[in-house]
């Protein structure tokens, strides 16, 4: 590839060649190829494993261009914008970029700008932009909503999107894609550069980051209801390779020059993305930790293996211990401290800890001062820690791609393999770990499906555009459709979004006089006044985080002292005053909750009361689930498994059934005074919970009053007083449950309300810092979005935001798509067996009972129980 891309002598100026030589390096072929792509004016996606010099490859073309441009007397504006998903990563890259700039003496200013950047620096950056700005998607959205955005970006030559695989399939990705379209409109010459770790399907990312511009319809075949003069490619996927750039350096193309192809009779065009691949890294070595050769039946903490985990840490130089939840992080950290006879420096890192404490851990890690960090997904990405030589995954990996990302954190040198150790916490997790090992060895990863851009995000973007400068609706529609996630946006939806931004978009047109954006005589739209624009800028962004409360140490007078971190409101709901819990590696007793502070006191309790806690917020990936089912069905494959797991599978085959990958196993059996129905779909907790909710509704209608259910990533169990063997299971699992039943359940469910709140905030219907009603005394009256939801649902059920909320709930919160695939897969393939007693497979799920939720409205039950308590107290 290097030859094709051109030799270093052609591509690198002398001082760059000298710099590489001075460090004893040679420019890597993918780095040179990225320079060649830039010379050719091509957009490019670089896929390379961690440690492959990926970031430098992204910046090299910009550094060369900046080094070679003639001096100028006036400021020239931004040359390159770098976007990182993490604030910390933007700051880290700023530091790393400093080395080549300084060592080559380049006349280049590179600065970061994040939410943490001081006001004076931010103001200066606005007046006098650096050559290279390193920032986040949220800051970019803010810059695009500036009044001076057009001038600010007019000379922008390049945008670099780092860790793109973590961004694209989300609302943040939607917002970023829209801002890319905006930047491209302001700076038509701008090149797009994506940097990504190994992904299963690069085409999905290419389609996301490409500019889908249209030209005049020739054949008239492509259908679009838009009153637009252009037609569009509905599928740019698969065109990149054939249209790859010429392989020798050519002058940059003229503005507007594009690739052309004929699709369905219409001449359409877009700027395709060239794919550049870095070298494949050495194959990682993944081991399994079996404590004394045994795997427990159930559980999520891997407590049984902690002594061996500690030994593994002792043998390693530096280890990262990944877990899936904050609770697991706290638990594992405490267990390790208990075992830490050698007083090894072991630290804890998760999203709830105070930012200052996290920075301290990161700094200690960077210095090489730590032997291990127990962490959650907060350390999945980014910052380069060269000394890590072992990654330990406690409990199940959930997905092959996530594991590759985590394993990549060990050993940032390409020629040496990364080492990882999986520690399964139970038997199903053992199967999952084995499936993940095999998937990693085959380099088969699970990918995100392409997503359709969310309309609440589009509403935020349209408002941002109106804040920046007046827009023409047709031109903006074309621009928005050039963004990958919105390329199939209909004119009707776009109009609805603009109407929403202006008046709220209600069928009852009473707000016309309050318009937030207004039409100028020439037909263009602009924001009504400065105040509206300012409020929009305060609320930019697509991350809606759950309500966080500060955890503070209670002072003697019972007031809030030093802040030790933040916890989600939801976690607090499981604790009563006096209860002890783990936080920041210590045991605390909850003293009191005041407004937004949680007051705690140190507790000497060695065994804190632990709130019941979900096993993981990550769902088992579809791909990995499939591999687990295959592994189970294929008896010849069992020999790779530990003896006790193999015996467990054999026992299951003997006492019950092992079914094929496409089938669904259903068991019914009595236990105690209850009758159980256990299903094993392996589709993840989310899809199982939705399925169980819908099943209990159906069972209720069938007259078999279900009493409760419990779900994990692998199975679900429903129980009732009546026997469940005689049911028509084909009927029970029929696909039509996704129709009315789902609709009825969802509209009442708290998940819809939560989804609605998120959409309402992103779309700007309500503000993140919602101005609570300040009454005379200054008290805050909580005005819940639930009230808005209830009113809107009754009076305008098809409103744009309810559509958004339904779409969100169906994908993110209840996983309807996956449930639909499951029901289709098992149609006519349900294998039911009626047993006298429980099966070996059912043991783990039955052990989870106790966390069960009752069907029906649990919240009414809570109120009813509170009332019963009162009655009991009164009748004592």
């Amino acid at each position: 590839m290097a030859d094709a891309a051109g030799s270093p002598a052609d591509l690198l100026p002398q001082r760059f060649r000298d710099w590489f030589a001075g460090r004893g390096w040679a420019a890597r072929s993918h780095q040179l190829e990225m320079v060649a792509k830039a010379r050719a004016g091509r957009d490019a996606l670089l896929i390379a494993p961690t440690g492959g010099g990926k970031t430098l490859a992204g910046f090299l073309p910009s550094l060369i261009e900046l080094a070679e441009r003639p001096p100028a007397n006036s400021p020239r504006g931004l040359h390159t914008i770098y976007i990182s998903p993490l604030k910390a990563l933007a700051v880290d890259v700023e530091r790393n970029l400093g080395a080549p700039i300084l060592e080559m003496g380049l006349p280049v200013v590179a600065e970061s700008r994040t939410g943490d950047t001081g006001i004076s620096r931010r103001q200066r950056q606005r007046v006098k932009p650096p050559d290279i700005l390193l920032t986040t998607p949220e800051q970019l959205a803010l810059l695009c909503a500036w009044e001076g955005a057009r001038l600010y970006f007019e000379n922008l030559a390049c945008v670099i999107l780092d860790e793109i695989h973590t961004l694209h399939a989300s609302k943040r990705g939607d917002l970023l894609a829209l801002d890319l379209a905006r930047l491209q409109a302001l700076a038509p010459h701008m090149r797009r550069v994506g940097l990504s770790a190994t992904v299963d399907d690069p085409e999905v990312i290419k389609a996301w980051m490409a500019s889908h511009r249209g030209v005049e319809v020739v054949g008239g075949g492509a259908g679009s209801s838009a009153p637009s003069t252009t037609s569009w490619s509905s599928s740019p996927v698969g065109t990149g390779e054939e249209l790859a750039a010429p392989t020798s350096p050519v002058p940059p193309p003229r503005a507007g020059e594009r690739d052309h192809e004929v699709v369905e009779g219409a001449l359409v065009s877009h700027r395709s993305i060239d794919l550049v691949r870095g070298p494949g890294g050495a194959q990682p070595i993944v081991d399994l930790l079996l404590s004394e050769g045994r795997v427990p039946w159930a559980g999520h903490t891997a407590q049984h293996a902690m002594a061996e985990v500690y030994e593994a840490i002792k043998r390693a130089r530096t280890a990262l211990v990944f877990v899936n939840t904050r609770f697991q992080a706290e638990f594992a950290f405490q267990e390790l401290w208990r075992l830490n006879e050698d007083a090894l420096p072991i630290a804890l890192h998760h999203g709830s800890l105070a930012a200052e404490q996290r920075r301290k851990v990161e700094a200690a890690m960077a210095r090489g001062g730590l032997r291990a960090v127990v962490c959650t997904s907060t350390l999945d990405l980014g910052i380069d820690w060269g000394d890590v030589d072992l990654v330990i995954q406690l409990a199940s990996p959930k997905g092959a791609s996530r594991m590759v990302q985590r394993i990549g954190r060990a050993n940032h040198r390409l020629d040496e393999p990364s080492r990882a150790l999986f520690v399964p916490a139970n038997r199903f997790e053992m199967l999952e770990c084995q499936a993940a090992r095999e998937a990693i060895a085959e380099n088969r990863l699970d990918g995100d499906p392409p997503r359709v851009g969310a309309l609440d995000v589009l509403a935020q973007h349209v408002m941002g555009c109106a804040c920046s400068e007046p827009f023409d609706m047709l031109a903006l529609f074309d621009e928005v459709r050039s963004a990958g996630p919105y390329r199939d946006l209909s004119w009707e939806d776009f109009e609805a979004v603009v109407d929403f931004v202006s008046t709220g978009g209600y069928a009852l047109k009473t707000y016309d006089r309050f318009r937030r954006i207004v039409q100028l005589p020439d037909g263009r739209w602009k924001v009504r006044d400065l105040n509206v624009a300012q409020r929009h800028r305060l609320n930019v962004g697509a991350i809606v985080s759950p309500a966080m409360l500060s955890v503070r140490i209670a002072t003697r007078r019972g007031q809030g002292g030093r802040k030790i971190g933040e916890i989600e409101e939801g976690m607090l709901e499981m604790l009563d005053p006096g209860d002890t819990f783990l936080f920041g590696g210590q045991v605390w007793a909850l003293a009191e909750v005041t407004n937004l502070d949680v007051l705690v006191r140190p507790a000497n309790d060695r065994d804190p009361k632990m709130p019941s806690w979900g096993s993981s917020k990550f769902a088992l990936s579809t791909y990995l689930a499939k591999r687990v089912r295959q592994l189970m069905f294929d008896e010849s494959h069992w020999k790779v498994l530990p003896t006790d797991v193999r015996e467990w599978l054999e026992l299951q085959k003997d006492r019950s059934l092992i079914v094929s990958e496409q089938e669904l196993l259903l068991e019914t059996f009595p236990k105690g005074r209850r009758n159980f129905l256990v299903a094993y779909p392996f589709e993840g907790r989310l899809a199982h919970t939705t399925l169980a909710m819908l099943l209990t509704r159906r069972l209720e209608r069938m007259g078999v009053g279900p009493l409760g259910f419990v779900c994990n990533d692998y199975a679900l169990a429903v129980w009732a007083l009546e026997p469940l063997d005689g049911l028509d299971f084909g009927e029970l699992f029929a696909e039509d449950m996704l129709g009315d039943d789902l609709e009825a359940w969802l509209s009442e469910s708290f998940m819809m309300k939560r989804a609605f709140k998120g959409c309402a905030i992103i779309a700007g219907l309500i503000e993140k810092r919602f101005p609570g009603e300040q009454q005379k005394t200054g008290r805050q009256i909580t005005f819940s979005t639930d009230l808005i939801y209830d009113v809107l649902r009754r009076h305008e059920p098809d409103h744009l935001l309810l559509r958004c909320a339904r779409a969100d709930a169906a994908t993110g919160l209840v996983d309807v798509a996956r449930l639909g695939d499951l029901l289709a897969r098992i149609k006519g393939r349900i294998r039911h067996i009626a047993l006298d007693h429980l099966s070996p497979f059912s043991v783990p799920i039955l052990l989870e009972i106790g966390k069960e939720r009752s069907p029906g409205d649990a919240r009414e039950t809570i109120l009813a129980e509170a009332e019963e308590d009162l009655i009991a107290e009164a009748s004592q």
Binding site: T510, V532, S784, H795, I862
Partner: protein, 242 residues
Amino acid sequence: MNDVAPAFTYAFAASPCGGLRTAVGGTDVTLRASGALWLEAARILVVADLHLEKGSAYAARGQMLPPYDTRETLRRLAAEVAATAPAAVVLLGDTFHDRKAEGRLSAADAGALVALAEGRRLVWVVGNHDADGPRALPGETVDEIRVEGLVLRHEPQAGAQPGEVAGHLHPAARVVAPRGTVRRRCFITDGERVVLPAFGAYAGGLNVRDAAFAGLFVRPPLAGALGDRRVRAVGWRQLAGD
């Protein structure tokens, strides 16, 4: 007063409509699941803090809340009127969200308010948001009203006020249980006085543990939390702050 106060036992009973019957200052009242107070003997329906046109008040400031709050609040009120057939409806203050709200009413919603006064007394107790009472709509405007040993006013007065029925504070109860937390609008009463929940569709709630409620009650009060078609009696110890 003795050092040890005798334990007070609240008398309350479920009514067939899902409401809760109890006594305030010696007068029998029904706390209805809608948030309305029903005085059966006098056939008076009392609702507090409708905050009509709150949505349009926010829209005027650039927050386009759905414009259906007035319609929804009046729909719920009409349902209560249909269920109880009262001789009088008392609106216990803050019926309008602000002084200009009456002018923003849609014709249909104004018509619904006119209909409310047909064949019965309609009494507007004034509140801090609507101190002048209605301009064009029918009904009597009063500062407070005394009936059956009760005094109906908008804002609870400091000190002992036996028989006071008030609104203004928008009481809400938070019940914490191991399986989750519920926050609901509620009545709050110590048997001497009662504060009504806000009836308006967009009216928020203030936790009854807030300092604003301190000093109103002579003993730990009882909350009547608005459940699904039922009022649930919840004791003070069960209630948590926000």
